[in-house]
Symmetry: C2
Subunit: 342 residues, 2 copies
């Protein structure tokens, strides 16, 4: 069923039907009523393609995240989707598995489908890729550190400071043998976290130990594997800082399998504060990120860009830096016990 059919049944021209749908204010109440009646009665829906062909606007955004089995990303995605939905946009969720190749492939389909904009979460895409998208008229917003460090609007947290804070907490708990396990992705974020970790040690006058810095898949399994390496070391670390709660979960599992106790024999610090981090035994001390808010802000930013572009006014570069804070639970020992240690 098409607009012509509706026009015929309503005894008007297709233009009038179209107007009823797009500029109802320009059509006589009586005809409007009649046309609307027929439309509802027949359940007519304008053809999406024909519409797009004219408008070249899809009311669709893309959302690229590395891994959907990591609740941290899901939280972000959920925040973004909420906003998009509320504003009448549909979201295309793309799981990149942390592979640039997959990202590029997704970007291509997204461009094909003429989406209005895209949110890149911890993407490995280069400046060049971003340029390409913008050339195709697609708005781009970043969440978290991205490789293509171009001047796009971005929502992020200060990973360097967050890691510094986390490691400092470990230090305050009396630890000196502090290892760090970081995920292969997100690349840039983890780089900053490493700097924070190293700076904290440096300021505490602790020499850095290459064996204490391990890169692994950013998954529970990755954490497990990395922890095994650490636990097998001649001089085992007494505290492990991980760049994600998922990694921390794996670490905890490995420590349990090794019959060591947390936090007495070894402390574990997470990062993200996903829902399940306080279900672990012991409850995980971690860096709390405003994940949902990150997604929210990112989507808002993107929609702003899209709509301001429609109005022709270029948007100035914008950067939103969100706050992270330490969530102190049980896995790093209690501050009250510091005295016991010394």
């Amino acid at each position: 069923m098409n607009i012509k059919e509706i026009a015929r049944k309503a005894n008007v021209s297709v233009a009038t039907v179209s107007r009823v749908l797009n500029h109802p204010e320009n059509v006589a109440p009586k005809t409007k009523e009649r046309v609307l009646g027929i439309i509802n009665e027949l359940g007519y829906k304008p053809n999406w393609f024909a519409r797009g062909l004219n408008f070249n606007k899809t009311n669709t955004i893309g959302l690229l995240i590395p891994n959907i089995l990591n609740p941290a990303y899901v939280e972000i995605a959920k925040g973004a989707e909420d906003v998009a939905n509320r504003k009448g946009y549909t979201t295309l969720l793309c799981i990149t598995e942390g592979e640039v190749k997959k990202e590029r492939k997704y970007i291509q389909t997204l461009i094909d489908r003429r989406i209005d904009g895209v949110i890149l979460v911890s993407s490995l895409l280069e400046d060049e890729d971003v340029k390409e998208m913008k050339k195709q008229g697609i708005a781009v917003v970043l969440i978290g550190e991205n490789k293509g460090n171009s001047k796009e609007p971005i929502v992020r947290i200060d990973c360097y400071a967050a890691a510094f804070m986390a490691v400092n907490h470990l230090l305050e708990c009396g630890h000196t043998q502090i290892a760090m396990i970081y995920g292969r992705v997100p690349e840039m974020e983890n780089k900053n976290k490493i700097e924070g970790y190293e700076q904290a040690l440096l300021e505490a006058g602790i020499l850095k130990n290459e064996d204490y810095l391990i890169k692994e898949e950013n998954t529970i399994e990755g954490g497990y594997v990395a922890a095994r390496k650490l636990l097998g070391l001649w001089k085992m670390p007494r505290a492990i800082f991980t760049t994600s709660d998922l990694l921390a979960f794996g670490v905890i599992d490995a420590i349990r399998d090794a019959d060591l106790t947390i936090p007495d024999e070894i402390a574990v610090m997470g990062f993200d504060n996903i829902r399940m981090s306080n279900l672990m035994e012991p409850k995980l001390t971690t860096v709390a990120l405003p994940l949902h808010r990150m997604g929210l802000s990112g989507a808002r930013l993107l929609l702003d860009v899209i709509e301001s572009k429609n109005d022709g006014e270029m948007m100035a570069m914008r950067e939103i830096v969100l706050q992270s804070k330490l969530k102190i639970r049980k896995s790093c020992g209690h501050k009250e016990r510091i005295s016991e240690i010394f």
Copy 2:
């Protein structure tokens, strides 16, 4: 840039360019080469809308799931997306929050966008809604029990049998005071699980206790709340069967907060076997579902329907029943200890 431009630069007609793209076998090698050259050089991409206007095929499927923060659904989604992706389809992930209203809204946008098919996971949609979609030419496949129990192709597991098996295990462990916490959604699935639970008790000659059957949100928080109620009962249950691992997590948390020990003082049985269920302390005994495979099979089924529809051959109703099995870990006590109990 459009097909006309390519045609001009290649000194051919638009028809030829179109043919190069769609029926390359019908165009002379030399011209084909030349046109392809220009296309690549200019990075030309056919307009998605114009294409759709002719084909009325979008290579897109929709995937409705109740909750993206439940890893069980995410696993299913991932399985489906894998298949879809591999076959060149894009997936529209829709999070329904277990609300029919949201489901209907999503269905409407999906229809608008002329997607080729949709996978309904534990949907609350009625037969009528499904009819509507099919009328609009959208293929429908179900995963899990759905409300609209229409004759659509479906992938499911036998929830009744699974619950029966789970409760039986609890029985074998010597339990008699067995409670059940079930989620508000998925509705039909949980209904079947209740039947399995009641049947198992019946066969064991245990009278059913209305206080022992609790409905709550299908989340960690829901499990916590429900467990609190149970623990506050005059005659507290000594075993709790939950219809999802997420609920079980909340239950475990509540039990810990009440300073009770699992499984000695109270046993917990989960359902789904999501990745994190063996990170809990104690490791969760649960009903293992082939989640990824469910998604996989669902997507394959859907694509079959879509493509067979294209070939005009109607597909017979198909039902795929997958196997669930008990994953015995620590949270329900050890079988070896049954003797101790008696």
